[in-house]
């Protein structure tokens, strides 16, 4: 039996299974990061003193990474727009750029982490570094996860375009929603950890 509402929308909700599914998943993600943000507030307000992020962390590198992630959000939405315009070649270019920008973000983060470890700054060093590594580490896992899904749609998953272009476009839209969410989380992480 075929699963209903994979491509066609339900009349009452106006949504497909995939659309409602990804939003419910993102709702759970809001709570996951929300719990860690709440922990950050609790630890910070309970501490006798708290360092300004820029005295420990590298602000220029993080600013660069913020620009990289925002740019990747634009290439992601352009990849989807390319499919909506029926231009598969352009989709591949934009999706490829999104994956590469994600990779740039992770490489910069690798160097940032490396610099901290070189100076013997570990999650166990103090509460600031503990929450910094936890929040950015979880965020990095999300970037990596998004890259894997995007790489699938860039490569083997794109076969669907030939047989069911509408479904493929919707799938790219849904992976895009996740990618934008990851960008959105970073928009809050950046000032919270690095600048305040």
């Amino acid at each position: 039996m075929e699963i209903p509402y994979t491509v066609e929308v339900r009349r009452d909700t106006g949504l497909t299974n995939g659309k409602i599914g990804i939003w419910l998943f993102l709702a759970s993600e809001v709570m996951l990061f929300g719990a860690l943000f709440a922990s950050y507030i609790l630890i910070r307000t309970g501490a006798p003193s708290w360092p300004r992020g820029d005295t420990i962390l590298n602000v220029p590198l993080a600013t660069f990474n913020t620009i990289v992630l925002i740019a990747s959000s634009v290439t992601m939405v352009m990849a989807w727009a390319s499919l909506m315009r029926n231009r598969f070649g352009t989709f591949r270019i934009y999706m490829g750029a999104t994956i590469l920008l994600g990779l740039v973000f992770l490489i910069v983060k690798y160097f940032e982490y490396g610099a901290k470890f070189e100076h013997n700054l570990y999650p166990s060093t103090n509460n600031f570094l503990a929450i910094y590594f936890t929040l950015t580490g979880l965020h990095m896992l999300h970037v990596f996860g998004g890259m894997v899904v995007n790489a699938y749609f860039w490569g083997p998953g794109s076969k669907l375009w030939k047989t069911n272009p509408t479904w493929f476009t919707q799938r790219v839209e849904h992976s895009g929603l996740f990618w934008h969410f990851v960008d959105l989380v970073w928009i809050f992480l950046f000032p919270t950890l690095y600048l305040l």
């Binding site: 409602i20 307000t45 315009r85």
Partner: protein
């Protein structure tokens, strides 16, 4: 045919919006970093930084995630999420500096035990 043309025009309009939002996000990123160099008092710095981040986040959610024109059920899901999210963030805020639920119980060494508040 008319529908296809309308559809293409619609996407072109979307793309122009994406570019505008991209520029706005870049400008706001520079604003965020620039403000941090002013070394404002902590409370003001937190307020301004979170305000700018909220504007940036809203731009991403409204335009890149298309929340500006989404179906009612999605709004309902997000409204419920928002309520729980606010409650989650309110918990540590309310317990801050001898708030409603957590009270300082550590007494100075000189005071006798059992005389807490």
């Amino acid at each position: 045919m008319t529908t296809t043309t309308d559809h293409a025009v619609d996407i072109d309009k979307h793309v122009r919006i994406y570019i505008t939002v991209f520029v706005a996000l870049m400008v706001l990123t520079i604003v965020t970093v620039a403000i941090s160099y002013l070394h404002l008092p902590v409370h003001l710095a937190v307020t301004v930084a979170l305000l700018v981040a909220t504007v940036k986040g809203s731009l991403v959610a409204c335009y890149f995630m298309h929340l500006i024109s989404e179906k009612k059920l999605i709004y309902a899901v997000l409204l419920l999420t928002l309520a729980f999210f606010i409650a989650l963030l309110a918990l540590p805020t309310l317990t801050h500096s001898n708030g409603f639920w957590i009270h300082e119980t550590v007494q100075p060494a000189a005071s006798s035990p059992g005389t807490g508040h």
